[in-house]
Every structure is written in C-alpha cells, then in structure tokens.
C-alpha cells in the first residue's frame, strides 16, 4: 500500500531530526532510506511505524490518515535493528506473537509455514540467544511477515551480520519481497546495500532528502556533492563556464587551461551562465588512464585501448552523444593499489590534487606505477556538473571523520 508523508517533521528539544518531508512510497516497491547515522532516516521510519509521533505533518497509508494511530493499530510491522527478539520466548512463540495479540489462537500452521519460508523449521523450540546472528535476523523477519503487513519496515536489518552473510541476506530479502509483494521500506547507511536491493533510494542528509531516484540515476547523475560523494566516489573539479546556452557546456578548470565539456542536461546547477562556477564531476571507473608517452594529443575523439572501445559501445546503447571530444587531463600517478578486480590509482593533477581512477584488471600497462606521467580521458556524457556553492567534501569519509 502506498505510503504518503506530507510535511512530516520531527523535533527533539532543540534538535531537528527531520525537516518537513514530503515522500511518496509506491505500493509494492522496495524503497531505501539511505544516509549516515543521525541523518533522520530511522526517525522517519519510526514515524511510519508509529513509534515516534511527528512534530508536524501527516502520514497516509493508502487513503487513510494514520498519523494519530498508535503502533499496535497500524497494519505495519518492523524488523528492528539488532532484531529485538523476545528473549523469554522461543522462536515459534516469537513468530506467533503478533497473531496471538490479535486474538488468533490456532497459529501453529502459519508459524510452521513462516519458519519454512525463512528456513528455520528445525529451530522452532530454541531461545533467541541460542541462535546465530543470521538466524536471529530471519526470526525477526518471520515475526514481522507472518502478520501480512501492508508495509514492512526494516531498520538496518543486516547491520549486525558479517559481510558474506550480509550479501546472502540481501539477495534473500529481495527474493522474499518479490514473493510476498508488499512494500518494503529499508533504512540503511550502506550505499551498496541500498543500491543492490532497492528500486528507489532516497538519500538523506541532516534531516532532509537530498535526492530521490533509481539507484543508477542517483549514481550516474547526482544532484549534490553529498550524493556524489556518499554514493561511491566522485572526482570533483572546480571550473568556470566559458560557453553556455547550447546543448553542450564548455568549462575551463580553475587555474589551468584544461577544457572540460559535458551535455547541458547533465548540469544540476540551475541556469548556468558564462563566467559562472561549477563543480565538474566524474566517477573513477569512467576514466581511462594512458601513459603520457602513448598519448595522441589533444582532442582525440577515439580511444585506442580496449576499455575505451567498450565504453563507447555502452555509450551508444545509452543513446548519448558520441561525437564530442573526450575530456582530457594530465597528471602523475601518486599511488597505485591492487584490488583484484581492478587497479585503483591516485593521480596528482593540476586541477585536482587527488584524482581517483579505477582501471579494470584486464591488461595492465606495466609502466603505470607511482611517478609515471599519465593522461586521463573520459567522455563528456559521463561527466556531471554541480552547483559550486556547496561544500565539495560533503558526504566523503574525510568529512565524517
């Protein structure tokens, strides 16, 4: 069932946890609220569950206003962070809890079916403390799902699991969501988790939704520095507009002569004017790295190496322009890290002190070692531009520290 939050806010004393928020979560979707701790995502979830009373605004479930309903009267269930299983009840009674409270006495068959769904049948008689983290997580899920809620809320459901189990449970949750077909609202601080599972992600920062959209849209076209840095990594270059108005924006990186181009529609800043400042961004894996000796000069439209050709093909499939010259920067490798599937380079460039580049680990150029002079290239269609008045480091790990 659709959840509609309109103007919902929450203030604790003099701290505003959630600024007035408008959000529509469509029926049957897997919706993720993504943000760092303290950004208001859990508070938002708790207001949907009824565990927190909004300071202002209304919460609608379908057409019904549920703002004033206490949690036990809402057809909504929650999988809590750290699960909150009842330690004095065994697994079967934990799962049966919701049914029993609604006066259903013959719960056995349903409990068995539900434990079957999460593959915990043989453990029905155990107490929660006798289960592993992954098993507890599945009990929590079964305990919520058995009530056939209209909406299932998940508060960092995988946060306490180790990496491998987390990956497995991500797929498992996605399968169960498809199977039961109810709306899932998932709160997480893990951007990878949000992108893997959700149809729609709302990135929250300091009590506000920064951007909302499909995972690929958020990643490819971030609209703020926070989203650009929080979802994956971005290289941001401060630049001045030299040509605006057409289909393409042409910029010059501040303090250099390097020319950067991007389609005007990929600019998130309102009304870019010649002489204005923008932050030009590109993702590290979009960049191709060549040794300076192999560089065929300015304005080369095609790329010699295999990676470049593949990128061209992807471009074509996206139907984006393939005509303009690549963006090109020069630099020197400061650091190279071997990650198995890829190589991670940090490149010193006049326009950006720490340029991140990921190269697929296919055919490595042995000369690409720290100290080597290199040329960075990427397509204008892979470039985005953001309003330069924001903090360029918002949402980075450094900022969090």
């Amino acid at each position: 069932m659709t959840i509609t939050l309109s103007g919902v806010s929450k203030v604790f004393g003099d701290f505003t946890a959630v600024h007035p928020l408008d959000l529509t979560i469509p029926e049957g979707s897997f919706f993720a609220l993504l943000g760092a701790s303290g950004c208001g995502k859990t508070t938002t979830l708790r207001m949907i569950a009824g565990l927190e009373e909004p300071t202002g605004g209304t919460v609608l479930l379908g057409e019904e206003d549920i703002t004033a309903l206490p949690p036990h009267k809402r057809p909504v269930n929650t999988v809590f962070q750290n699960y909150a299983l009842f330690p004095h009840l065994d697994v079967a009674e934990n799962v049966a809890f919701g049914l029993r409270r609604r006066g259903i006495t013959s719960v056995r068959k349903q409990v068995e079916e539900m434990l079957e769904l999460v593959e915990l049948g043989p453990l029905a008689g155990r107490k929660p403390r006798q289960l592993s983290g992954g098993q507890q997580q599945r009990v929590a899920l079964a305990r919520a799902l058995i009530n056939r809620p209209r909406v299932l809320l998940l508060d960092e459901p995988l946060g306490a699991l180790d990496l491998k189990l987390r990956r497995q449970m991500q797929l498992e949750l996605k399968r169960i969501q498809t199977e039961v077909g109810i709306t899932f609202v998932h709160v997480t601080h893990d951007q990878e988790e949000a992108m893997t599972m959700a149809d729609t992600v709302a990135v929250m920062n300091a009590g506000r939704v920064e951007q909302l959209g499909a995972p690929d849209e958020l990643y490819e076209r971030p609209r703020s520095t926070f989203v650009a840095n929080f979802l994956g990594t971005s290289n941001l270059i401060e630049a001045e507009i030299t040509e605006a108005g057409g289909e393409e924006l042409v910029l010059k990186a501040t303090g250099t002569d390097s020319v950067l181009r991007l389609p005007a529609e990929r600019c998130a800043a309102p009304d870019p004017q010649t002489g204005g400042k923008l932050l030009v961004g590109v993702r590290p894996e979009k960049i191709s790295l060549t040794h300076a000796e192999d560089d065929d000069g300015e304005g080369a439209g095609t790329q010699a190496n295999g990676t470049g050709a593949r990128r061209g093909a992807v471009n074509g499939a996206n139907g984006e322009g393939n005509g303009g010259a690549d963006n090109r920067l020069t630099g020197r490798i400061r650091d190279a890290g071997y990650l198995g599937v890829s190589m991670q380079y940090v490149v010193d460039s006049p326009v950006c002190p720490e340029f991140s580049v990921y190269e697929q680990n296919v055919e490595r150029d042995a000369r690409l070692t720290p100290g080597a002079d290199v040329v960075l290239r990427w397509r204008p269609a892979h470039t985005f531009a953001l309003d330069a008045t924001q903090d360029a480091d918002a949402g980075t790990v450094e900022e969090a520290l």
Binding site: L51, H72, N82, Q168
Partner: protein, 298 residues
C-alpha cells in the same frame, strides 16, 4: 540459503585438533616435593572450602542442637540426641503463634513492598521528572540509616500521631525498610532491559496492557523476584525496628526468641531455624535445577 550448522564430514568435524599440550613438569629440575606441589595447585579450592565452612558453621550448630535434649532450660550444652523438638515443634507456649505472626507480616510486607517498589523502580528507571535525582539518592537512605535510629524515630512518630502500636505499625515499618531493597533490585533489572523489546511488542499489535503483561513483566521478573525474596528475609528476621513499633500483644518470632533467651531457649527455636534454612536451600536449589533443565532442553 544454507544452514549454518556443522555438517558431519565438514573439515571442522574430521580434522582432529592437535591434542592439548601436556602439563609440563616444574622447570629447572628443582621440582618441589609432592605434598607442596599438591597444596600449590589446590590452594584456591582450599581457601574456598575454608570460607564456606566459616559461613556455614553457625548453621551446622543450629541444626545439630535442634536434636539436643538439654538438661535445663538452656540449650547451650550437648547432652544427648533426641527428636523430641522435631516431633513437637509447637510444644512451647506462644512460639508458634509468634511464628505465624512473623510469617503473616513478612508475607504482607513482601507483597506491598514489591508492588510499590516495582512501580517506583520503573518510574526512576524509565521516566524523566523533576526530583528524579533526589528520589534516586533518597531511596538509599533507609538502607544506610542505622536500624536502631530508624526504629526509634518511627516509634516516636507513631506515638506523636497517636497511632495504636500493633500489627499495622509493624507492617508499615517493614514495608518501609523493604521498599529500598526492592527498588534497587528491580531498577537494576529494568535499566538493563532493552526498550526496543517493548517497541517490538507494540509494533506487533500488543496494546499497552498486553505489552506490560507479555513482555515488560516477564523480562523484569528476575529483578522483582530478587526484591521479593530479599523483602521476605529482611522482614521475617527483623528485630530492632519491630521492637520499637510492636504493641503489647504483637510478639514476632525474633521478639519471642529474644524474650526466651532471658529465661531459657527451647530446642524448638533451633527446629524453626533449621527448617527455615532448609526451605531457603530448597528454593535456591529448585531454581537452579529448573534453570539448568530449561537450558538443556533448549
């Protein structure tokens, strides 16, 4: 989804871990003589046994002398074995009456102190209100106050407000001094409870009353039980405060024993003492066996 249990035949099950290293003989060749080595190895156990003896010796004496047949009125010297006192525990005038009174007061004091104390503990642990800090500090005062001072002051209070001394004044006094212990025991438990469990209950269609009965109360139960047992024990054997607040016809068991000690202690007092001790041991053992069985079954 794979199960996380161990499969027979998995590497962990087939590969035998290396046998634990043998206890190495004393280094340097200068091995101490055998008895000394044995002493060194078992010193902690010996110290433990000695402390236990120190604790339990008085109880053993009480138990032993409940089978005595003293010559005179004083049960201080061993004369001969007899079960007279055990077969006729109420053979002494007024003793069983005082025992009944003590049990009655202890039971009522436990019920009231546990109920009030539990409420107070929840308030102090869960809610924020003006005077919470003061309340938390004041709760400890009755425990810290010398009993004799508290008993005397309470007596003065009853005298000045013209409350007739008797059953009610004793009960009021006992509830008062038991209350602090219940609050402390229950509060510690409530503070350690995860508030998310109650949220989970509310989320799973339990109204406020159901949440309290099905989740809060069972979780707080060990703390409440500890408070109640403490209350019963404290109330049952209190002499000082009771002495100051009892009426002429309300003689509790401790008061009876005190009075009897002047004229000669009957063996039956030891019988009652031994019985109380055995009941307490049985309760503790029963609890432990039940907990052990629950753990094994799970």
């Amino acid at each position: 989804m794979t199960t996380t249990g161990k499969h027979p035949g998995s590497p962990a099950a087939t590969e035998d871990p290396a046998p634990p290293p043998r206890r190495t003989p004393a280094r340097g060749g200068t091995s101490a003589p055998a008895p000394l080595r044995w002493l060194r190895r078992n010193a902690v156990v010996l110290a433990g046994v000695a402390s236990l003896c120190y604790l339990l010796l008085p109880n053993a004496v009480v138990m032993l002398f409940s089978f005595n047949k003293p010559a005179g009125r004083f049960n201080y010297e061993w004369r001969m074995f007899s079960t007279d006192a055990w077969t006729d525990p109420c053979g002494v005038a007024d003793m069983c009456g005082s025992l009944g009174l003590s049990l009655q007061i202890a039971l009522l004091a436990t019920v009231f102190a546990t109920a009030f104390g539990t409420f107070a503990a929840f308030a102090l642990a869960r809610y924020r209100f003006r005077g919470k800090g003061t309340g938390n500090a004041l709760i400890f005062l009755p425990m810290a106050m010398p009993e004799v001072v508290m008993g005397a002051s309470l007596g003065t209070l009853f005298l000045n407000t013209r409350v007739a001394f008797g059953f009610v004044t004793i009960l009021i006094a006992h509830i008062m001094f038991c209350l602090s212990f219940v609050v402390v025991a229950v509060k510690a438990r409530v503070m350690s409870m995860d508030p998310r469990l109650e949220e989970a209950a509310r989320d799973l269609y339990a109204g406020p009353l159901q949440t309290f009965l099905r989740v809060t109360l069972p979780l707080a139960a060990p703390g409440i039980a500890a408070g109640a047992m403490l209350s019963f024990a404290l109330s049952f054997d209190d002499f000082i405060i009771t002495q100051f607040n009892a009426g002429p016809s309300t003689v509790t068991f401790p008061m009876f024993v005190w009075g009897a000690a002047q004229r000669g202690v009957p063996v039956q007092v030891n019988v009652i003492g031994t019985a109380m001790f055995l009941i307490a041991v049985a309760v503790v053992l029963g609890g432990q066996i039940a907990a052990g069985r629950r753990r094994r079954r799970g």
